[in-house]
Amino acid sequence: MTASSETGQGAPAAGGLTRRQRRRLILGGEYALFLGVIVAVALLADWESLRVNFLNLDVVGDLFPEIITVGLRNTVIYTVTGFVLGLVAGLVLALMRLSSAGPYRWTAMIYIEVFRGLPALLIFIFVGVGVPLAFPGTNLPGGVYGQAALALALVSAAYMAETIRAGIEAVPRGQMEAARSLGMSRARAMRTIIIPQAFRVVIPPLTNELVLLFKDSSLALFIGVSLNERELAKFGQDLASEKGNTTPIVVAGLCYLLVTIPLGYLARRLETRQRRGQR
């Protein structure tokens, strides 16, 4: 932008332009640049080849309905089971983390530190490849479904534990004191008074975590899935190589966005509503 020094408000600047005129000029320049780039791309790109490779309607037709009935369906199953399992584990870890008994606290802290520090991919490989190697013949209930749920739960439990712990700690101390003064035990007060309030605070961040898990469920392909166990990403990959065309990957991406964008929007809505609700 121009380097002319700021003068007093509303006074003509060095070049003889008022501040408003200068701002218009800059804005106009920005629009012109943007339009120029668009026109250049439109003229130079090979639209026909792009369409054939990335959004080939013949290929799109072949994707349905399996991309929904197999791909999206499995993505949803992996995500939801992993989320529920991770949520339960996260709640337990959060309570352990807040326990007055040292061993519980240390165990939870170590788990959280370890699993927050590991790449999700490594955990999937560990569950999908490492565990079967170590214990040949043992099978998780649900086969690949159980493995994917376990891997996603392992990935998410640490994060959810920290989120839930923060939520519990955000509940004012007076709530526990009021509950105790009415004769509730600590455990009873936790269940009836503290945790319900903590969950209201953590619903937006947990919704965000659900979005992350929805995307991370794509790592299930590293477990080694059969045809009917493929989720969106693997499905897109397989069909892309089968058809020699990128379109399946694009359509799989659109399927992800179909879920992640509304969920992310919902999380932000809940967050702002909550912030406004807090007087």
């Binding site: 004012p172 007076g174 709530q175 004191e177 009021a178 509950a179 105790r180 003064s181 009415l182 004769g183 509730m184 035990s185 009873r188 009836t192 008074i193 319900p196 309030q197 209201r200 609700g277 007087r279």
Partner: protein, 262 residues
């Protein structure tokens, strides 16, 4: 035991090296109303919170209706049922309605069935002047109404003793009267009450006895009218002069007349 509701002997409480209560002896008879006054930081809240063991004493014994709550094997949850507590900041459960606030402990602690708990809750809400507001969430109630729900919540457990920790300090001035009126009725009905307050006119009119606490010890104790109108100790006189006429004294007025949080 007969006639003695609260019996405190040699109560000491330290936070680290900071000894806040330095040997308190205090007896409250059944049906008596005792007000505790004193400057900010003198240990009034700590004293009250020791009585139901929200704060664990470092020394001394406390008996409530004969049960030694300071005994290592005391069943705290059971003893606390009989001790109602009202907090400065109300501490209502924001996720429950007024009725929910008053029923939750009846159901979960006393195991009353749903209808009975609701009936008792309605009675107590009516008693504090809140009939018709059963379904309101705390956020929809004024500070004075919230504090009265908190009183109803404690009363629904049929306590034999009520503890009040500056119940009107967080209220707008025009809302103080309703809460004090409820407390006055409660006193007239014979409830045993231990009240920390800066409301001197309430103390003078309602309390049987007033305790002046300063520096963690009971500096002066006696009939309400005497302690407030003709204090014997210089420290009591100084404190009362500051509280009764904050403008004339140079010292900060402490927590008197703090504004409501909303």
């Amino acid at each position: 035991m007969s006639g003695t509701a609260i019996e405190i002997e040699g109560l000491r409480k330290a936070f680290g090296a900071d000894e806040v209560l330095r040997g308190i002896d205090l007896t409250v008879r059944s049906g008596e109303v005792v007000c505790v006054i004193g400057p900010s930081g003198s240990g009034k809240s700590t004293l009250l919170r020791c009585v139901n063991l929200l704060e664990e004493p470092t020394g001394g014994t406390i008996r409530v209706n004969g049960d030694e709550i300071t005994h290592p094997d005391a069943n705290l949850d059971a003893i606390r049922i009989g001790i109602g507590m009202v907090f400065q900041q109300f501490n209502l459960f924001p996720h429950l309605t007024a009725l929910g606030n008053v029923t939750v402990a009846q159901r979960k602690v006393l195991r009353r069935d749903k209808d009975e708990a609701a009936r008792i809750a309605r009675e107590n809400l009516a008693r504090v002047g809140l009939a018709g507001r059963e379904d309101a969430y705390p956020a929809r109630l004024s500070g004075g109404q919230q504090q009265r729900v908190a009183i109803a919540r404690a009363l629904a457990m049929d306590p034999s003793v009520m503890l009040f920790d500056e119940p009107t300090s967080a209220l707008d001035p025009e809302l103080v009267g309703d809460v004090l009126a409820v407390m006055r009725t409660l006193a007239e009905d014979g409830m045993t009450m231990l009240v920390v307050t800066h409301e001197m006119s309430f103390a003078r009119e309602v309390a049987d006895r007033v305790i002046f606490l300063d520096g963690g010890v009971v500096v002066e104790e006696g009939p309400a009218a005497q302690v407030i109108s003709e204090p014997r100790q210089a420290r009591t006189r100084e404190f009362l002069a500051r509280v009764l006429d904050p403008a004339s004294a140079g010292a900060p007025a402490g927590t008197v007349g703090k504004e409501a949080p909303e």
